[in-house]
Amino acid sequence: MKQVSEILYQDKKLGFFIYLIVEAVMFATLFATYIIFTPPSEGVQPDEVYELKTVILTSVFLLSSSGTLLVAESGLKHWNRMKIWLGLGLTLLLGSLFMGFEVHEFYKYASEGHTITVNNFLSSFYVLVGLHASHVAFGLAWMILLMLQFKQQKIPESLFIEKHKIFNYYWHFVDAIWVMIILIVYAPYLF
C-alpha cells in the first residue's frame, strides 16, 4: 500500500500538468497573434527594435536557471539540505538577473519610442513577452516563499518535497516557453 502523501502528490502532479496544458494553449494563442501581426504592414519593424545583446543575456540567465534548479532537485532525492539551498539560491539569483534585463529591455524599447500602442507587432510583442515575464516574476515570489518554508522547517518533509517538485515543473515550463519565444519572436528577425 502506497503512502497517503505519495498518492495525493500524484493527484496534484496530474492536475498541475493539466494546468500547464491550459497555460500552453494560452501562450499558443498569443504566439499565433504575434505571427499574424508580425512583420507589421506599417510602422517600426522588429529588426529595428530588437537588440541581440539583451536577448542573449536574458536567455543565458533564464536557461541556465533551469540547470541550477536540477541541483536542488537532486538534493531533494537524497534530502541534502545544502544542495537544496544552493540550487534554489542560484536559481533565484539567475531568475532575478533575467527579470532585471527583461525590465531593462522593455524600458529601453519604450524610451526609444517603441511603446505598446505604436503598431500591432509591438502590441503583440509586449502582451506575449510581458505575460511570460509576469510568469517569471510570479515564479520568483513562489521561490522565495518556498525558501521561507524550507528555512522554517514547520512543514513535514514530504509536503516540502511535493511543493518543491510542483514548483520545478512550473519553472521548467516557463523556461520552455522562453525557448519558444527565442525561436518565434526573436530569432527570425535577429539572424
Partner: protein, 635 residues
C-alpha cells in the same frame, strides 16, 4: 427618470433598484428569523462536492430567472409591429439581448451542468469527493464573482451592449466608449477561470479516483460526457481567456488588435469561435450524458451501443474544434474555407445521429416508466432532432447567405441549447434531486412544468424559423406591419410567457418539496449506477466501505442477483476536505480588482491584485495537507 443626486436613470433600472432593496430586505429578515445564518456560513466555508454543486444550481436558477425576464422583455417588445414597450428600444434593446445571451450561456447553462457534475460525478464513479476540494470551492466562488460582476452592470446603468459574441470593432472603445463592455470582459474572464479549474478537477477525479474495478469502459455515460466536456474546456477556454485579454488591451490600453487599419476585426471572430463552437458542445455533451443515463434507467435496460455512445461523444468533441468558421460563412473567407467548414459541420450529424438512434434502441423492448426525468428525455429527442436538422441546413454555406443573422439562426440555436442543455439540466435536477437534498420533487408539479415548458418552447421558437425565412433579422427591436411577420411574432411571445409560467411551477415545486415532504430512499428510481447505493442526500464520505465494480451497471446486476456489491480492499486515500473562508474571500478581492479594471481606477486594481496574490501565500501557509502528512510521518 430624473433621480435627485444621481441624475437621469432609465426607469427600468429604478424599478430594479426598488425590487432589489425590497427583496434583499425580505430575504435578510427571513434568514434572520428562520435562524439560517449558520447554514449560510457553513456553505460559504464548504469544500464538499455536493454542497458546492447545490450552490452552483441555486445560483444558476437565480441567473436563469434574470435571463428569462430579459427574454420576456424582448418578446414583449417584439409582440406587435412598431411597438414601444417601456424603455426597450434601440440601445436599451441591445443591452437586453446582450445580457440575455451572455447570462444564459455563461451563467446558466455552464453552472447548471457543472453543478450536476459536482453532485453526481463523484458518486457515479465511486469517489469520496472531487480530487481537489479546495480548488473546487475556488472554482465555484470565481464563477459566483464573475456572475455578480456581470449582473452588477445593469444596476449601474452600464449593461454590455455589443451582443454576447462581443464582435469587434463594435466592442472596441472607439464605438462603445462607456465601461459597459468592460463588465462583459471581466465578468466572463473571472467565471471562465473558475470553469478551467473545474475542468482540471473533473479530469483528475475521473482518471485517479474511480472505485476499484471501475474501468473507463465501465463508467456511466454521464461521467464519460463530463470527461470529454472537461477536455474541451481545457482547449477552448484558454483561447477565450486570451481573446478577452487582447480585447481588454484594446479597450483599456490603446492597442489595436481588433480595430482600424492595422488591426483585424475578423481575428476576433476567429478567436471567439475557436472558443465558441467547442463551447456549444461543452454545454450539450453533459446533457447527452444525463439523457443516456436517464433513458437507460427508466427503460430498465442497459444503454444500447455503449461503446458507440462513447465513440460518438469523443468524435463530436474532436469535430467540434474543426467547425468554428461556419459562424463566419458570410465574412468572405473564400470558397475553399467555406467548403471545408461546411463538410466538417455536416459530419457532426453522423455521431449525433448515432446517439439519437441508440437512445431509441435503448427504449425499444424496454419496460419504459414515464416519470418526470424520463418525460424530459422524451421531449428532448424530437426537439433536439429539429435543431440538428436546421443545423445541417445552416451548414450549407451557400444557403447560409440567406439564413445568416436571421431569426432562423435564433430558432436553430434555441432548439439545440434549450432542447439539449436546458431540458437535460431539468431532467438531471429531477433525477438527482434526492442525492442533493434527500427529497423527491413532486411528480404532478413536475409534469405541469414539463408540458407547459415544452409547449411554450415550441410555440416560441417554431414560428421564429418562418419569421427568419421571411427575412426578419436578429437583434432588431421592431418590425413593420407590411413585413407580414406579426402573427409569427405574436405566437412566439405567447409561447415565451408559457415558458415563464412553467418556471413558476418548477420554483414552487422546489419550495414545496423542501418544505413539506419527507426523506427519500437511497434508490428511489430503482437505479443502475453507483450513486444510488449511497444515502439520500449523499453523505460526506459516501463510499465507506468502498465497493468493487465488475461490470457496467454493476449495482443493477447486483440487485438482480440479490447480492451486495463486493467490498474492495486497499482503497486509496480520499481527498482532504477543509472548512475555509479563503475561496469566497479570494473571489471577493478578485471582484474588487475587476471593478478597478472596469472603471480604470488604478488604486483599486493594485489593492485587488495585491490582496489576490496574498491569498496564494496564505493558501500555501495553511495547506490542509500539512496535518495529514505530519500524521503519516509520525507513524
Amino acid at each position: 427618470m430624473n433621480i435627485p443626486f444621481i441624475g437621469e436613470v432609465p426607469s427600468d433600472i429604478v424599478v430594479a433598484w426598488i425590487i432589489s432593496i425590497l427583496l434583499g430586505g425580505f430575504l435578510f429578515s427571513w434568514v434572520t428569523k428562520a435562524g439560517k445564518w449558520q447554514v449560510i456560513m457553513k456553505y460559504a466555508q464548504t469544500t464538499h462536492h455536493r454542497k458546492i454543486g447545490v450552490m452552483y444550481l441555486l445560483l444558476a436558477v437565480v441567473f436563469f430567472i434574470r435571463g428569462g425576464i430579459d427574454a420576456l422583455f424582448i418578446r414583449t417588445q417584439l409582440a406587435v409591429p412598431e411597438n414601444d414597450f417601456w424603455v426597450f428600444q434601440s440601445q436599451k434593446y441591445n443591452e437586453v439581448f446582450t445580457t440575455h445571451g451572455t447570462i444564459m450561456i455563461f451563467f446558466v447553462a455552464m453552472p447548471l451542468l457543472i453543478g450536476l457534475m459536482n453532485v453526481a460525478l463523484p458518486l457515479q464513479i465511486g469517489a469520496n469527493d472531487l480530487a481537489f476540494p479546495y480548488l473546487n470551492a475556488v472554482s465555484f466562488w470565481l464563477f459566483a464573482a464573475g456572475g455578480v460582476i456581470f449582473n452588477m452592470a445593469f444596476f449601474f446603468n452600464a449593461a454590455p451592449n455589443a451582443g454576447w459574441t462581443m464582435y469587434t470593432p463594435l466592442a472596441t472603445d472607439t464605438f462603445t466608449t462607456e465601461p459597459n463592455n468592460n463588465y462583459y470582459i471581466l465578468g466572463v474572464q473571472v467565471s471562465g477561470l473558475g470553469t478551467i479549474f473545474t475542468a482540471i478537477n473533473m479530469i483528475v477525479t475521473i482518471i485517479r479516483l474511480r472505485a476499484p474495478g471501475m474501468k473507463l469502459s465501465r463508467m456511466p455515460l454521464f461521467s464519460w460526457s463530463a470527461l470529454i466536456t472537461s477536455v474541451l474546456i481545457l482547449v477552448a477556454f484558454p483561447v477565450l481567456t486570451i481573446a478577452l485579454l487582447l480585447l481588454m488591451f484594446d479597450r483599456l490600453y490603446g492597442t489595436n488588435f481588433f480595430m482600424g487599419e492595422v488591426g483585424d476585426p475578423v481575428y476576433w471572430q476567429h478567436l471567439f469561435w475557436i472558443f465558441g463552437h467547442p463551447e456549444v458542445y461543452i454545454i450539450v455533451l453533459p446533457a447527452f450524458g444525463i439523457f443516456s443515463d436517464i433513458i437507460s434507467n427508466f427503460s430498465t435496460k442497459r444503454v444500447y451501443g455503449y461503446t458507440s455512445m462513447v465513440a460518438a461523444l469523443a468524435l463530436i468533441g474532436l469535430l467540434g474544434f474543426m467547425v468554428w468558421a461556419h459562424h463566419m460563412f458570410t465574412v468572405g473567407l473564400g470558397s475553399m474555407a467555406n467548403t471545408f467548414f461546411a463538410i466538417t459541420t455536416m459530419l457532426i450529424a453522423v455521431p449525433t445521429g448515432i446517439k439519437v438512434f441508440n437512445w431509441l434502441f435503448t427504449m425499444r423492448k424496454g419496460i419504459v416508466k414515464i416519470r418526470t426525468p424520463m418525460l424530459f428525455a422524451l421531449g428532448f429527442i424530437p426537439t433536439f432532432v429539429i435543431g440538428g436538422v436546421t443545423g445541417v441546413m445552416l451548414a450549407v454555406a451557400a444557403a447560409d447567405y440567406q439564413y445568416h443573422d436571421s431569426y432562423f439562426v435564433v430558432a436553430h440555436f434555441h432548439y439545440t441549447i434549450i432542447g439539449g442543455t436546458i431540458l437535460g439540466s431539468f431532467a438531471g435536477i429531477y433525477y438527482w434531486f434526492p442525492k442533493m437534498t434527500g427529497k423527491m420533487l413532486n411528480e404532478k408539479l413536475g409534469k405541469w412544468h414539463f408540458w407547459l415548458f415544452l409547449i411554450g418552447f415550441h410555440l416560441t421558437f417554431m414560428p421564429q424559423h418562418f419569421a427568419g425565412l421571411n427575412g426578419m433579422p436578429r437583434r432588431v427591436y421592431t418590425y413593420m406591419w407590411e413585413d407580414h411577420i406579426f402573427l409569427l411574432n405574436f405566437v412566439s411571445t405567447i409561447g415565451a410567457f408559457l415558458m415563464g409560467a412553467s418556471m413558476l411551477f418548477f420554483i414552487w415545486n422546489i419550495y414545496y418539496t423542501c418544505r413539506f415532504t419527507g426523506g427519500a430512499a437511497a434508490d428511489p428510481w430503482n437505479g443502475r449506477t453507483l450513486e444510488w447505493t449511497v444515502g439520500s442526500p449523499a453523505p460526506e464520505h459516501p463510499f465507506e466501505p468502498m465497493p468493487r465494480i465488475d461490470s457496467l451497471d454493476a449495482y443493477w446486476y447486483a440487485k438482480i442477483n440479490k447480492k451486495q456489491l463486493p467490498e474492495a480492499e486497499d482503497v486509496r486515500p480520499s481527498p482532504i476536505a477543509v472548512e475555509t473562508f479563503q475561496p469566497v474571500l479570494l473571489a471577493g478581492v478578485i471582484g474588487i480588482m475587476s471593478i478597478g479594471f472596469i472603471y480604470g481606477w488604478l488604486w483599486m486594481q493594485i489593492v485587488g491584485a495585491g490582496a489576490s496574490l496574498a491569498f496564494f501565500v496564505i493558501r500555501s501557509l495553511t495547506d490542509e495537507r500539512k496535518r495529514v502528512y505530519e500524521r503519516e510521518e509520525e507513524l
